[in-house]
């Protein structure tokens, strides 16, 4: 029996991780190929792969993937560029926090997806509308989480900096920001994951391209294989971006692992 909190080796970890994927696909194949679930509602894994291949080779699905990735990254970068500095300021200066925090906390609970109809009115169904959905969905989350992280900076480090002659600005620049940089990167990684759900919602309504658009198109044709393929692609891209983010963080912040 494994003991609580006992670490496992890297090899065991990978094997276990992969084996659940295998189990999952096996269960799916069993349910569909075994005839327990109607084909109309759930395609089997083989059909899904065939449909996916067709999508990629015949229907230009790669273009859809590209445009979706572009929207996520665009909206997310926009949100991060505004939210990270604001979050740092809010975390550092309590008066600024008192000024913005109540509004941001309120805005955070506004569902990004509910803005889609409104944004279509304001920005049409072009790219701007898609970017704005992701922007609205991400920006308040990032602001709040960064502000909390910065606000929780170890006080003794700040005090040490002051006794070493740091000015107020110096403390922000040379203690608050570097101390929280890894945490901020981690917050961005997390929120990027959420941004993926917003983009699909934005593409489900009033869109003529993207993964979400393909999924809604396929629904009309009852092509569940294509729909599942699209969903799985999103998962895979998410996994890759997560992996890249982690790798970059390890490279940028070696002191965390030292």
């Amino acid at each position: 029996m494994p003991r609580p909190l006992e670490p496992v080796s890297q090899g065991t970890r990978v094997t276990l991780g992969i084996s659940f994927f295998v189990l999952f696909v096996l269960a799916w194949a069993f349910a569909t190929l075994g005839g327990f679930v109607s084909r109309t509602f759930l395609a089997d894994p083989i059909t899904m792969l065939q449909d996916g291949w067709l999508l990629l080779t015949r229907f230009g699905f790669l273009g859809d993937i590209g445009i979706t990735v572009w929207r996520v990254v665009g909206g997310f970068v926009l949100a991060a560029a505004i939210a990270v500095p604001l979050g740092i300021l809010m975390g550092a200066y309590k008066s600024f926090e008192a000024f913005l925090e109540p509004f941001v906390s309120f805005a955070r609970y506004l569902p990004a997806s509910a803005f889609v109809p409104l944004l279509i009115l304001w920005a049409g169904i072009g790219e701007m509308q898609k970017l704005l959905v992701i922007f609205i969905g991400s920006v308040f989350q990032i602001i709040l989480m960064v502000a909390v992280a910065v606000g929780n900076t170890r006080r003794d480090l700040v005090e040490a900096a002051y006794t070493l002659g740091s000015s107020d600005q110096g403390v922000v620049k040379r203690v608050l920001i570097p101390a929280n940089a890894p945490e901020i990167a981690e917050i961005l990684r997390l929120v990027l994951g959420w941004a993926w759900t917003y983009v699909i919602v934005a593409e489900l309504i009033g869109s003529s391209s993207g993964i979400g658009h393909m999924i809604i198109d396929s629904q009309a044709l009852l092509a569940t294989g294509q729909m599942i393929f699209g969903i799985i692609i999103i998962g895979i891209i998410g996994l890759i971006s997560d992996f890249l983010f982690k790798a970059v963080n390890r490279k940028l912040f070696p002191w965390r692992l030292a």
């Binding site: 170890r154 003794d156 480090l157 005090e159 040490a160 900096a161 002051y162 006794t163 070493l164 002659g165 740091s166 000015s167 110096g170 040379r174 203690v175 570097p178 101390a179 940089a181 912040f253 070696p254 002191w255 965390r256 030292a258």
Partner: protein, 263 residues
């Protein structure tokens, strides 16, 4: 001979009550004069306000009443003229040992070449050559506190403030640290204010021991330590040392009993 570098004038500190509770008087009005090149240890039971007093000198806390003068100028806030070493490990974890030591110099705008020279000299003095490019996490607690001392000294402060810097270290390491700090002081004669609750440490390091009473803290005794320099750890077993220790143990015991509510 009036070489007073630091003057503590009627400094008191009352912390406001939490959640409507009664305010807490941490420090009674306190007067203390520190001469140039003195090594003063402030000894007292925990919670006696000795750290509060040190933090007021550092400028990290404000006195409720009274004032602190450093070279005749009133202290209004923290500054590079008072180096501080904390009990907790306060090295910046994202900077290497060399970068940590250079922190204050960089804030001051000292040119790089000169910075490196100073850093190298202090790395040497605290015995950390070869660890310049390590991160704090990779070092033991004793090494981290040595770096913290080097970081404070590299700034060339007027006075060095230490708040139980060796409190978290094991006994053996603490002994070595005391010798290292004393060795540096014997060579450089930097004015030092050192807070501790360890009687042996207070005597071994000091030229003057200030004993503080239980909360609310006030200075209870001011005892000069005339043991000769350079001091060696074996001094801790000499009769003179033992006498001082016995005397201070009595002083502190009464206070500790009071602090614990034992009579």
């Amino acid at each position: 001979m009036s070489n007073t570098i630091l003057q503590i004038d009627n400094v008191s500190r009352v912390f406001p009550g939490v959640r409507g509770g009664a305010p807490v008087r941490a420090l009674e009005p306190t007067n203390l004069q520190v001469e140039q090149n003195d090594f003063i240890t402030i000894l007292g039971p925990s919670g006696c306000g000795k750290s509060t007093l040190l933090r007021i000198v550092a400028g990290l806390d404000r006195p409720t009443d009274g004032r602190v003068l450093l070279n005749g100028r009133e202290i209004k806030g923290p500054g590079a003229d008072r180096g501080m070493v904390f009990q907790s490990y306060t090295l910046f974890p994202w900077l290497t040992i060399a970068e940590n030591i250079a922190y204050g110099l960089r804030e001051k705008g000292v040119p790089k070449a000169q910075r490196q020279e100073i850093v190298a000299s202090y790395t040497e003095k605290v015995g950390l050559r070869g660890f310049e490019n390590h991160y704090p996490k990779q070092l033991s607690g004793g090494m981290q506190q040595r770096t913290a001392i080097a970081r404070a000294l590299a700034n060339d402060p007027e006075i060095l403030l230490l708040d139980e810097p060796f409190g978290a270290l094991d006994n053996q390491t603490r002994g070595l640290m005391q010798e290292l700090l004393l060795g540096i002081w014997e060579r450089e004669r930097k004015t030092v204010l050192f807070v501790t609750h360890d009687i042996e440490e207070a005597i071994f390091l000091a030229s003057r021991v200030i004993v503080m009473s239980a909360r609310p803290g006030r200075i209870k005794a001011d005892i000069p330590v005339d043991l000769p320099h350079p001091r060696h750890y074996r001094m801790k077993t000499t009769p003179e040392f033992s006498d001082l220790k016995a005397q201070l143990t009595e002083e502190i015991r009464v206070e500790a009993m009071q602090a614990e509510g034992v009579h």
